[in-house]
């Protein structure tokens, strides 16, 4: 056991695109470590690939519990302890049933059918950005709007409401720019809009996810409304930040961008490698042990809260040869960016496609793309749950 006070978590990045030094130290010396969450609560941090995978994929353990460690005392910590998580099935067979109603909309076939529309949205955003001229913030003009447009499309929300969705989503999850009051108001406005939207879809069903869930029957309006909130919260900031980080990583070493321009068939493996190599993955995923579990030879009693660092696990030398090198051709690439097991990201086929389309369109439209600032000056977001860069200034 540790003699000193457990270190604060999450750890700091020594440079904008470099992982915390603690990741490698803990994987080598202390694969199950006590750390202190921003709330002040202690938790057990797991950093090796095999251990993270073991804990995340064990169907016995829920993501949270009444006496589990709290992430933070802020409203964002609160969102995951909110009406949404009380309304949507969180665990076991009921969760699997609900998840399978949703997963119909995220099959590879469905997402492939959606791909031309995503591409058209990406092209339009690039039209607008280039019309304004260089330099531009690729995050604000491209990475941030693209996923919210896609979610609006899936939920059958008209194009004219996209800006409102974008604002609500940003405010609900932002820790740095908005007050708790602003976050509360945004969540209230969003839920009121979604209630009206669900009622409208009941009256006039369309070809969208909500209409389909309504016609399938059996779901209450509350579940439908919070399913919409869940998809927005899970699918917007995560993808937006990942597009920004991916492009920053690729431009930070111009040879990477040149390789992709020369051979765009590398896009799918480059996207997986960017997901693996992400040095700002956010907090990680939690599990609450409802019974004793042995992890890396250490017995953890029932009642322990475990934090799984997918970012640390994704650089585990035991799984990835030359783990600290970004290899755009790496295959297979069984990274844990989308988690593992029964709670792994339901929208991962969509997220992959959005990342691939974003990269393909940028390579096609702006092959001369480059960072407008030195990589060392890219600023991280102070968010807790979703990690990313504040801006990605670019020239072309």
């Amino acid at each position: 056991m540790e003699d000193t006070a457990p270190p604060p978590f999450p750890f700091a990045n020594p440079a904008p695109l470099q992982p915390p030094t603690e990741w490698a130290q803990l994987r080598q010396r202390c694969p199950v470590a006590t750390v202190t969450l921003p709330s002040g609560d202690p938790t057990m941090l797991v950093t090796r690939h095999a251990d993270v995978k073991q804990v995340l994929s064990d169907p016995r353990f829920p993501r949270s519990a009444a006496d589990a460690a709290r992430l933070s005392d802020t409203a964002t910590g609160g969102l995951f302890n909110s009406e949404m998580s009380r309304t949507l099935p969180q665990h076991g067979e009921e969760h699997q049933r609900w998840r399978r109603l949703i997963s119909k909309w995220f099959t590879v076939k469905r997402i492939r059918a959606l791909q031309p529309r995503i591409e058209a949205m990406a092209d339009r955003l690039i039209d607008d950005m280039t019309a304004t001229g260089a330099p531009a913030d690729l995050k604000a003009s491209f990475a941030f709007p693209l996923p919210v447009w896609v979610i609006c499309d899936m939920l059958g929300v008209p194009d004219s409401e996209r800006d409102k969705f974008s604002y609500w989503s940003d405010t609900m999850l932002s820790l740095t720019r908005c007050t708790e009051e602003e976050m509360r108001v945004a969540a209230g406005e969003f839920l009121a809009y979604m209630r009206g939207h669900v009622a409208a879809k009941r009256a006039h069903p369309g070809d969208d996810l909500l209409s389909d869930l309504i016609q399938g029957g059996g779901l209450t309006d509350d579940v439908l409304v919070y399913t919409g909130q869940g998809l927005l919260v899970a699918g917007h900031e995560t993808t937006a930040n990942m597009i920004g980080k991916m492009i920053a990583m690729l431009l930070a070493e111009p040879a990477r961008w040149a390789d992709l321009c020369a051979d765009p068939s590398l896009v799918p493996t480059a996207v997986e490698e960017a997901l693996r190599f992400d040095a700002h993955p956010g907090l990680g995923m939690t599990r609450y042990l409802t019974e004793e579990l042995t992890v890396a030879g250490r017995r953890l009693p029932a009642g322990t809260s475990v934090m799984c660092s997918m970012g640390a696990a994704n650089r585990d030398e035991a799984v990835y040869p030359d783990a600290e090198r970004m290899d755009l051709t790496r295959t297979p690439n069984a990274h844990l960016a989308f988690g593992s097991g029964p709670h792994s990201c339901v929208g991962q086929a969509l997220a992959r496609t959005e990342l691939q389309v974003a990269l393909q369109v940028l390579l096609r439209r702006l092959p001369s793309l480059r960072l407008a600032v030195p990589p060392a000056t890219l600023e991280p977001l102070d968010g807790l749950v979703v990690g990313g860069l504040r801006e990605v200034p670019v020239h072309w």
């Binding site: 994929s57 997963s103 099959t107 590879v108 297979p332 339901v346």
Partner: protein, 64 residues
């Protein structure tokens, strides 16, 4: 090579379809894996191994 899938464990990520679409498909109603070919030819062996390696539910088992 013989392929087994566990539809109960499957989380409908679709990674297997992306890796080897001649061997794996997804049910239209919920995205759960459908095994198209339990005895894939040697030419597809690498793609099937990749599918098993990247499955986030560890729902694909290979006997070689």
């Amino acid at each position: 090579m013989k392929v087994f899938v566990d539809q109960d464990k499957c989380v409908a990520a679709g990674s297997c379809v992306t890796a080897a679409e001649d061997v794996f498909d997804q049910r239209e109603e919920d995205g759960v894996v459908v095994l198209l070919n339990p005895n894939p030819p040697a030419a597809l062996a690498n793609a099937v191994r990749e599918a098993a390696a990247v499955c986030p539910a560890m729902a694909i088992e290979l006997h070689e």
